[in-house]
Subunit: 149 residues, 2 copies
DNA sequence: CTACTTGCAAATGCTTTGCAGGAGA
DNA sequence: TCTCCTGCAAAGCATTTGCAAGTAG
């Protein structure tokens, strides 16, 4: 019996969170999670359809809704193109994105912890002035990726 | 003959930029610009339809495409709701947004100049490592607005 | 006159849903 | 068995587009 690797632990977490909302961790859902893990960057529905040809789009959409409800997947909006999905930050850690304005490619980046603290500090000050309660932030960089230059 | 106010200068700029791409500054387009100016925050197509009932949606969409092409309007994507539009930053100045996760309301905020420089610096360092050419950034704060608490 | 603008209606295209059969516990 | 999951086809909706008439220069 093999020891549990990172991926196995992740699957355990996903299964547990799905069960919390009376949902099951079925093959289709696991295939999506595996895809998100291996991709290492946000993927679109088109990406999923391409990599999982046997999974009907309607099922993919439904799975993604359920996985979001379970708190393991997050829907993001790149520039103004296609909706993309990634593992929730509580599984991958807080990070940001580089968005290619030409091809739409999305790359994950992690900023220095000290910088993130400065961001939160600056945000909370301004939010207070608006009586706005900040929950999280997202910092996206728009530009041209290596392949499009 | 009255002196030109801010709004008049803005309209002159819009007209000039439209002419550059062989487009005319017609009544419908001006109505949209006026709306964006007075709103002081990003507006959705639904907002436009509500405030400009006589303007057909198809025309609104087309105007917004043209105004973007002219570089006076920018399309933004709030959380994962409706597409919204605002005047381009070269007309309003660089700023960011507070996004209410409950009602979708978008509020403009301006961060300290020094902070923006730090952001750009942190970004350019990471972008270099990825051979990514940064053009701009967007920093959105997700949370709950005053009215929804 | 020539080119851009508009409205309406029809077409798109992504996403959601109704249903009926299948599967997990 | 009872509840959740799947697929397919149909429905929804925001957005785009074809066309023909209107208008700016």
């Amino acid at each position: 019996m093999p020891a549990h690797g990172m991926a196995d632990e992740l699957h355990d977490v996903v299964e547990h969170r799905l069960r919390r909302i009376d949902q099951r961790y079925t093959a289709g859902r696991r295939a999506i999670i595996d895809l998100l893990v291996s991709a290492e960057h946000p993927v679109s529905i088109a990406d999923i359809a391409e990599r999982l040809p046997s999974l009907p789009r309607s099922s993919a959409y439904r799975h993604l809704v359920d996985l979001q409800a379970a708190g393991v997947v997050r829907r993001i909006t790149a520039n103004d193109e296609f909706t993309r999905f990634e593992l929730d930050e509580n599984l991958t850690g807080h990070h940001h994105h580089l968005l290619c304005v030409n091809c739409g490619k999305v790359t994950d980046i992690t900023l220095p912890a000290g910088f993130e603290q400065d961001v939160d500090k600056a945000i909370s000050q301004l939010a207070d002035a608006e009586s706005f309660e900040p929950l999280s932030h997202r910092l996206d960089v728009l530009g041209v990726c290596a392949g499009c230059q």
